[in-house]
Symmetry: C2
Subunit: 546 residues, 2 copies
């Protein structure tokens, strides 16, 4: 019986010229009956097709997926050796049918169906913008980025890459910024084994043909990050081909477009993908603002899932108001060092702001990698008070010259442990996100009005604080549990008694007793106030023009 | 002979149905021979025409002016009593001819000519953007705004308005933000004598008919500001009809458009006009972002001279990247208090940033008017170091309840004298403008690299500073004259000997002697460094990606 079933399946596959499954080990496929793929996992159609000529350039393939109410068209791609694939991330459970289109008859009008099963624990779908300045997964679960950057970790071979994954698994980081194209740095000791185009380094490329093995490897790493709960912030272009050795930053627009479309076709079905158009876009001298505009719009138009899109700057900030930019990916260490600065970018663009580069913890002769661990940790807390997000990396070479920023492998800095502590605090904060409470004066208090406050004293080392909160959302007599957080020592010390507030003046509430909260006189101290009761009636509100 | 000439002129005027001249006392007209108007002054054509129906709505009038190489079309306007006017600001000297068009025959195909004479001393033309972040007059002279706000100074009657003009003449201010439409505040003691529309307050308006007397009065004040060398930053809309008494903020778009066009037709020929679409646009609840976008584009399209355009915010910042916004008119006291903050808005939009509202010097129960004079002065210096501009006003009621912010009349604060001193320093700075030298770390030095530096210590009160400048433009051995500026005491104290610099490390130059400059240990201290010699060879340059 089972042999006949197998034969039948084989015959059907031959007849339809297609086999469909979820790629790679982690996705789940029912082998009997109609295929089943979890919602927001990757469903894949595999189709045999022509290998003559240049399939990357000449063969168009797409498929329409429909569950009866929504139809989504996705591009397929050539994976070498006469094999074509179409990948699809079902956005909701239910039965989906598909049908292919192509300019080659063996790929045309293939069809099939599968069932998307409800997402299981740990699968929250792709991340999008929520509440203007924050992020959430598709299922509504808040996503609070604590990112790190390791440009070339996926270009360093199995041994090192496996170690990097181990390190990440034990780290607080839930987002990784990483290059698609290799960079020069580190290639002397660890030359890339795979290259994105057919040919050989340094310059013997056929840039009209992708190297499927390179992209298969990349997507394996993306999948592994996904299974660790880590977003893959993929950087499409960068200026780190230092000697202009390979020239991937100098392709004509037609090939840049094909590359972007190929990435979308291969990777957009992975729910943890984000698109970063460039790292330090303004240092890439071969492209203009119009090129970036074109690429951003291309990604917006072609990615059927609308994964997050950003463009990271060197010294000149891109016009972050452009509609295709979903969130601000900022390099600005000076701004990230103080909440009163970081918040201004948030107000300027009314989008989420992620300080993906706020300088690095490190011991480099370049001043962009000279932060102490304490400065790195301070920047995370300061950007949080600003209602924005920080980003980590480090430049601390080990004996072999390995550097987290470039290669990943091992973390050596003082900040990651404190960022794990930071993450635990932030994850326990309100789901809506942490927002500045009042930016009319120097900003050091954030949270959700009337419910939750983080008071952060930054590099100051006060010995006391007289409680005073901006009025919004507060009620006369409302009490708050108060805890002193030492962001460096990683301790949380509750005060003996709750603080009780009363209105004072036109703008504020103060503590009833009039007594100051004693603080330890060290830098990096925060106070967390959590409402323990909420008297009836509406909270206080400022005048709209006050 | 002269009687015959006069008769001839009269006959010609009757035949052409037009008389042309420069309006008001300050402009210069040759009475004999062809008319002469100074470049960038106002040339005016006066035409008799129909007064029946509603000329404001029904009569279209424009004229084409040409000097043979450039043709500029400007709209005319109805000034009541059967009189129409077309105004033109000649952008360069030479002979200009004009011809009118209209949908009414008495106004059609009138023509004439005049000679624009070269601008005389003190007439530099209209102000535009220069060097991305700065301003200059049309003749290239730098314009460095030291602005103030007096919303309703031109709605308070001859006696008070004459006093205000006297005060301005003796003040450092070279820009005034002022409302076109009246505001509620102050009208109990000083009710407006003139209203923008036909009818009577509070609500008996014919909003389809302007009141020419109101606008004649307004333009008289604009002209008087011009003759004092002061820019008139005219605010078209505001939210200060507190009780919704008059309803000028609630007109339909058609009438808002007509109002904007009427202002352009009447006032654009005055070289000192700027257009501020709104004060606190987000507090005007009767208009949407799309309305502002429409109005901004309308002004951009219809103002033949491209006067500066901005939109001032309350709590929510407008998208300042919009192409019709020529410069940022910002309300943000927190940002303006420190150079390291203010500079971020400059970087965000790459346009000039004017902190037109950075809180006010005053003694109000509202916290937006509680700055000390020292805080106001600090904000001007801090925004200057940021490569941006400050803006003054004060809320210090006199015995009669008069307040500069609302009525003008008299200055009572501590800051204006210090702003005069500030202006003298800034006017003597390089013509290109003052730019931040290095924003990678906390920003407190600005100027022009290798030539001129202002080092400003803000609210700190250091007793010494070890000279250290970012390398750009500096030469080994270069010497600078150094002066200590006390921004409050208004003193400039030169050091005994020049400072001589040498390179140190990857990024900086330091003083050769290694000795610190002694400082007075007070807040508000700046150091001015001016190159006294420049060794041969190119100045130092940082790596582009450093």
């Amino acid at each position: 019986m089972r042999r006949w079933q197998g034969l039948l399946a084989w015959l059907m596959a031959v007849c339809m010229g297609a086999s469909a499954q979820a790629p790679g080990a982690p996705t789940r496929v029912e082998q009997r009956g109609e295929q089943r793929v979890e919602q927001w996992d990757v469903f894949e159609v595999q189709l045999p097709g022509p290998s003559e000529g240049n399939p990357f350039a000449e063969v168009q393939l797409s498929a329409r997926f429909s569950d009866g109410t929504q139809t989504i068209e996705v591009d397929g791609f050539y994976d070498g050796d006469g094999t074509y694939r179409v990948r699809f991330m079902p956005p909701r459970p239910g039965r989906w049918t598909w049908v292919s289109q192509s300019n080659r008859w063996p790929l045309t009008n293939k069809q099939g169906a599968f069932t998307a099963t409800p997402a299981r624990a740990g699968n929250h779908g792709p991340v999008g913008v929520r509440n203007t300045h924050h992020f959430a997964y598709a299922d509504g679960t808040p996503y609070k980025p604590v990112g790190t950057t390791m440009y070339s970790w996926a270009h360093r071979g199995e041994a090192l890459e496996a170690q990097t994954l181990q390190t990440l698994a034990a780290s607080p980081f839930n987002k990784v910024r990483m290059l698609v194209f290799p960079q020069t740095a580190g290639t002397d000791r660890h030359p890339p084994e795979l290259w994105p185009f057919a040919g050989t380094p340094p310059r013997n490329w056929d840039t009209h043909r992708f190297n499927p093995a390179f992209f298969r490897h990349l997507e394996q790493r993306v999948r592994q990050l996904r299974d660790l709960g880590i977003q893959a912030d993929l950087i499409l272009h960068h200026p780190y081909d230092d000697k202009r050795e390979w020239g991937f930053d100098s392709l004509p627009r037609e090939l840049d477009d094909r590359y972007a479309r190929y990435l979308v076709a291969r990777l957009a079905a992975y729910r943890n993908v984000w698109w970063s158009l460039a790292n330090e876009f303004d240092f890439i001298r071969t492209k203009t603002d119009a090129d970036w505009e074109h690429l951003g719009e291309l990604l917006q138009r072609t990615d059927p899932y609308g994964h997050l899109r950003s463009i990271h700057n060197g010294k000149r900030i891109f016009d972050q108001s452009r509609p295709w930019i979903t969130h601000v990916s900022m390099q600005h260490g000076m701004a990230a060092a103080e909440a009163s600065r970081a918040v201004l970018f948030r107000e300027a663009w009314r989008k989420p702001v992620v300080f993906d580069e706020l300088k690095y913890e490190g011991r480099h002769d370049r001043r962009w990698a000279q932060l102490t661990g304490a400065q790195m940790v301070n920047a995370f807390w300061a950007t949080t008070i600003a209602g924005t997000y920080g980003g980590h990396s480090e430049f601390i070479p080990d004996a072999d010259g390995l550097i987290w920023l470039a290669q990943g492998v091992k973390l050596r800095g003082d900040s990651p442990a404190r960022l794990a502590f930071f993450k635990a605090v932030i994850d326990a904060a309100p789901a809506e996100g942490i927002d500045p409470i009042d930016t009319f004066e120097d900003l050091f208090i954030a949270g959700q009005p009337g419910r939750y406050y983080l008071v952060y004293f930054g590099t100051q080392a006060p010995t006391a604080w007289l409680p005073r909160l901006y009025l919004t959302g507060l009620r006369d007599g409302q009490r708050f549990k108060a805890e002193i957080i030492d962001t460096w020592a990683m301790t949380i010390t509750p005060l003996a008694a709750p603080l009780q507030f009363k209105p004072e003046g036109r703008y504020h509430f103060v503590e009833r007793s009039g007594q100051a909260v004693k603080l330890p006189g060290r830098p990096g101290i925060a106070l967390r106030l959590t409402a323990v009761d909420t008297p009836a009636g509406p909270g206080a509100q400022p005048a709209h023009d006050d």
